[in-house]
């Protein structure tokens, strides 16, 4: 059994509060008559989208950039996270003078449907029952997330996006945007992603979900009602997933076989190794800010993602007559979304006659490289957006 120091089980309620009344966020409410039509055949209403914006929308409304977050990300892309107090998850990429320059672009980042940081999800209060949604929440897809984001843009009066950018599950949303609303997307930056979740990735997700559900505190998904929190299960899920975000080389470089604060092994199941201690820390800090049921729903959405299947099995049909300019990026050591996945995207885009750039970046940092300090990635994103901005007629400085 993994030793996880348990904090206050009421932390689940803290996540729950953020799910309904997110701090330092903007909220768009969609009431009766504005349902989100889900792929599951259910109309979700009412619902809300929490989001952040950075920069200024220009008079032509032509400089909007949508950032799509990854599985456990949220809309706090370039500002302090209200729960952890840490800086935004993509502050290296988004901000004044950064590659996605908020002095030039109007950046919008919404929390996805099914998440737990302010957009309606399983941790949200269901006004029809007076209780948290829990497992009554309908199963959602990446296409549902994008459909909700399109409603948000309508709400904001933004017809077309200058660019849509994101990595991992965010990259899936980028591809879905280009497929669902090609006329609304001038340029697209899908990073470290795929047009379909592989069997191996579904398998990893299933292990994570089983870890959550094996925790007795999960209470068949009713933990919020019963004042419980499946912290151990969610922490184990995160620890397992976190390994897949790194690489053998990166783990070896960072930790090797080094002991944690000790000279010798303790001949126990303590966290003797630094890498164990690191993973436990990752697990513990994750459960402070994430809802276990959200983790089930969002991993499921990624599993279901298969863009080609939605288009009769021919991926190129998903991008037929696409005017969108694409820049696909992968990382050499990413074994979750390997370069071959990105190549499949590029082949389909070429077959569809789309304008596509593709760069593979050499790094040992694995899948997480898209979130880290990768100067080559920054140069590519900056150059791609500059080129697209010229084609779009964007003035320097917005």
């Amino acid at each position: 059994m993994v030793e996880v120091k348990l904090g206050n089980p009421r932390d689940a309620a803290g996540v729950s509060r953020e799910a309904d009344s997110p701090r330092s966020s903007l909220i768009a409410h969609f009431g009766a008559g504005q349902p989100l039509r889900l792929d599951a055949g259910i109309e979700l209403e009412p619902f809300q989208i929490a989001y952040k914006t950075y920069g200024t929308l220009n008079a032509e409304r032509s400089n909007a950039v949508l950032i799509c977050h990854a599985l456990t990300g949220d809309h706090h892309v370039a500002s302090v996270h209200p729960v952890t107090g840490k800086s935004g998850w993509w502050e290296t990429m988004v901000g004044p003078g950064k590659p996605i320059d908020t002095e030039r672009y109007f950046v919008i980042c919404p929390n996805v449907v099914g998440a737990c940081m302010g957009t309606t999800g399983p941790a949200s209060f269901n006004p029809k029952t007076g209780k948290p949604w829990g497992l009554d929440f309908p199963v959602i897809t990446v296409r549902d997330m994008v459909r909700a984001q399109a409603m948000l843009l309508d709400h904001l009066g933004i017809a077309t996006l200058f660019s849509v950018a994101g990595g991992s599950m965010g990259g899936m949303q980028v591809l879905q945007w280009a497929a669902s609303y090609p006329e609304r997307v001038f340029s697209a930056l899908p990073i470290a992603c795929s047009t379909r979740h592989s069997a191996q990735n579904i398998a990893f997700h299933e292990v994570g979900r089983q870890a959550v559900m094996a925790d007795p505190e999960w209470r068949q998904g009713r933990y919020l009602l019963e004042g419980a929190n499946p912290r151990r299960g969610l922490a184990v899920a995160r620890m397992g997933a976190h390994i897949t975000y790194l690489s053998d080389a990166a783990l070896h470089r960072k930790f090797g076989r080094k002991f944690q604060d000790r000279e010798n092994p303790t001949f126990s199941f303590d966290a003797d190794f630094e890498v164990e201690s690191y993973l436990r820390h990752q697990g513990i800090s994750f459960v402070e800010r994430f809802d276990a049921n959200s983790y089930l729903y969002l991993t499921r959405a990624m599993d279901y993602f298969d863009l080609a299947a939605d288009c009769g099995g021919v991926l190129a049909s998903a991008f037929k007559d696409a005017k969108t300019r694409f820049c696909v990026v992968s990382f050499t050591s990413d074994w979750l979304f390997p370069t071959s996945d990105s190549r499949a995207i590029v082949h389909a885009l070429n077959a569809a006659g789309a304008r596509v750039s593709f760069a593979e970046i050499v790094t040992d940092k694995g899948h997480d490289a898209f979130l880290l300090d990768e100067p080559e990635l920054f140069a590519i994103v900056r150059g791609f957006l500059d080129g697209a901005g010229k084609a779009r007629g964007l003035k320097v400085g917005g």
Partner: protein, 222 residues
Amino acid sequence: MSMLSRAKHDLTMADAARNPGGSRVDLLAVAQMVEHGARVLDVGCGDGELLRLLGDTRGVDGRGIELSREGVNECVAKGLAVIQGDADTDLADYPDDAFDYVILSQTLQATRRPRVVLEHMLRISRHAVVSFPNFGHWRIRLQVALGGHMPKTDNLPYSWWDSPNIHFCTIKDFRQLLAAVGAKMEKGVALNAWGSPLRLHAPWWFWNLFGEQAVFLLSRKE
């Protein structure tokens, strides 16, 4: 090859001098064969110099394929639409008539199957532009014939054991390939060692002997 009409606007050193970026004269020769506003694929685009030149001077909608990762990433960072790929394998992925021009600039001799590459170029595009170092140039002939060793020149600085160039040909050889794949030569220019074009009405043997580089505009035979 009486069908041949040589490049309408012969290159002069003044052309090179006029170019603010100081582009290589062989690239200028290639660029002059491309119509304004065309859809262009540059196979083996290197650091993107030709694509940039075509964008600046010809207003083309340009794409590139480049084998080296460094080249690709440099191009993408410049805002060019370039993907990492291999001329020998990846041209098959493009649909018929996807482009107006496909360019193979100083890359033919580095491909494993030049004939297949050229066939694909003429499948996915109405026109192909091919530039290559002429192995029939007198200096090269001299190095092999009298020096008794594989030639090395400023344009071809590699030793035989580490050269990426595996399929050298002469202008004469190249014309044989065109006949084999059924390609029509629309325009041609040969550049001497100083980058100046050779006399317009020179006979083929003269081009083959004194042209250090050759640039040809090709099309499918209908």
